[in-house]
């Protein structure tokens, strides 16, 4: 019995040490990027198990340019601003929609870099051809996304015409509901919808655009300089063509919606 306990305690200690994070190797400035690791193609876990995505690659390139150490912190999207406040990351940069309430709360917000359209994803054999056909239908949307805000706060008349609005806690669950036939349509960001429709030929993205928001990067209040540094680095990347090169790697992101490439 004592041996078992000793073994268990030894295991606990090993695990406790293993779980401790390592300190950075040098004293360069470390920039911690806060991402939602469940948001392809902007930020997600790649095939090799490393975090990647359009936002992640741009941020990495910015840090290389500025000579900063680059680190990633996976935020819990519902609490992203709490985690930013608490210094767990230096920015939230992950396909984040700029809200007026963020500016009012004092966060420093970068220039918008992406125009995001909200679209409707349906089954290819569905009779739904536009938002008018959603009357009496069951519609799914991800909790805490701009799609949800749009339906619940702006397009309230449209939402009222639904039979039911289902909120899921991830895109994957919304899609599973749609493919499984328990909902008739999903309201979602265009790049995500396009990526899904490319993978599953039974789904189509409707042309109608329900609403448009802009993506930006959020910094803590008082970090204006950091925001300027990053903004400057992005401008350099746009000028030397790196930005466009990275964008090409993500065909699901419509280049026409990337603000910096269309100035």
């Amino acid at each position: 019995m004592k041996k078992v306990i000793a073994l268990a305690l030894a295991l606990v200690m090993v695990l406790a040490f293993a779980a401790c994070s390592k300190a950075p190797a040098n004293d360069k400035k470390t920039f911690t990027m806060g991402i939602d690791a469940e948001y392809p193609p902007f930020s997600y876990m790649g095939d090799d198990g490393e975090y990647t995505g359009f936002d992640v690659e741009i941020c990495k390139a910015c840090c290389d340019l500025l000579g900063w150490n680059f680190e990633i912190f996976g935020v819990n999207w519902d609490e992203k601003l709490v985690q930013l406040d608490a210094n767990e990351c230096d920015c939230v940069w992950s396909g984040m929609t700029i809200l007026d309430s963020m500016k009012e709360a004092g966060y420093v917000i970068s220039d918008p870099y992406f125009k995001n359209d909200q679209v409707i994803l349906v089954k290819a054999d569905s009779d739904i051809k536009g938002s008018a056909d959603l009357k009496g239908m069951v519609v799914a949307v991800q909790l805490g996304t701009s799609g949800e805000t749009l339906l619940n706060e702006e397009l309230t008349d449209l939402t009222a015409s639904f039979k039911e609005l289902v909120t899921c806690d991830s895109f994957l669950k919304c899609f599973a509901e749609l493919e499984g036939g328990s909902v008739d349509a999903v309201v979602v960001d265009k790049p995500v919808a396009v990526a899904r429709a490319n993978e599953n030929k039974d789904l189509v993205v409707l042309d109608e655009i329900l609403g448009t928001e802009e993506y930006g990067i959020a910094f803590r209040s008082g970090d204006e300089q950091m925001c300027k540094d990053i903004q400057g680095a992005i401008n350099t990347l746009v000028e030397n063509g790196t930005y466009a090169k990275i964008a090409e790697k993500y065909p699901d992101i419509d280049a026409a919606n990337l603000v910096f490439l269309n100035k």
Binding site: L15, A16, C20, D48, G49, G74, V75
Partner: protein
């Protein structure tokens, strides 16, 4: 992403899941005993304060307690949030589970017949001796099945650490699932949890056998 990479990536998280599990048990088992004894205190103030403590911890979601322990100190006192998330996570889990364990301990202690205390007193045992040598071994034997229940639940509750961005196994599984639009990580997670709990169940069964010294 092939299955191997997926399993490897999630195994990394499994180490963190194990860390929460073992550290929570390490702290909450003794803490629960202290709470149980305070709860049984003859001093009305002490027992009522403990009763209130238990009711708050059992009456609010663990998810809320995790957020409160992790971000509460920052918002109330401006303290920095620990970079090593294991610390707040284990504190929240240990306090929460201590409250549950305390009630299990109490049920065990209260189930002991008064006659045993009286017999021990006649035999000249001190109060501490009576508790440690006579009562506690029997209590442990009686409460083992309910403890196994609670410990199995703890294995599954570790997934709640995602609330404060602690990258344990299920958090990584969800990230892979949404990045690769695949349900496979959930199946892998299910297998991981099941095997983990099968081991816990087996170990607790062994302990129960060991404690069955009255039966032939």
């Amino acid at each position: 992403m092939d299955l191997m990479t997926m399993v490897l990536k999630m195994s990394e998280g499994l180490g963190k899941t194990c860390a929460i599990f073992f550290l929570t048990l390490l702290f909450s088992l003794p803490l629960g005993m202290i709470v149980a004894l305070l709860r049984r205190s003859k001093n009305k103030i002490v027992s009522n304060v403990t009763r209130f403590f238990i009711s708050v911890l059992r009456g609010t979601p663990l998810m809320l307690q995790l957020i409160a322990v992790t971000y509460g100190p920052y918002y109330l006192f401006g303290l920095t949030v620990s970079r090593n998330k294991l610390i707040p996570v284990v504190i929240a889990f240990a306090i929460n589970y201590a409250a549950y364990f305390a009630e299990i301990y109490r049920s065990g202690i209260d189930s002991m017949p008064v006659g045993q205390y009286e017999a021990a007193e006649v035999l000249g045992y001190s109060k501490v001796q009576t508790f440690m040598k006579i009562i506690l071994p029997q209590v442990i034997r009686r409460i083992l099945p309910s403890m196994t229940n609670e410990i199995v639940t703890l294995v599954k509750d570790t997934s709640m650490a995602f609330t404060v961005s602690y990258q344990e196994m299920f958090t990584i599984g969800k990230q892979i699932a949404n990045s690769q639009t695949s349900f496979m990580p959930f199946i892998v997670a299910g297998v991981f949890y099941y095997v983990f709990n099968a081991i816990v169940g087996f170990a607790m069964g062994k302990v129960e056998d060991k404690m069955n010294y009255y039966e032939m």
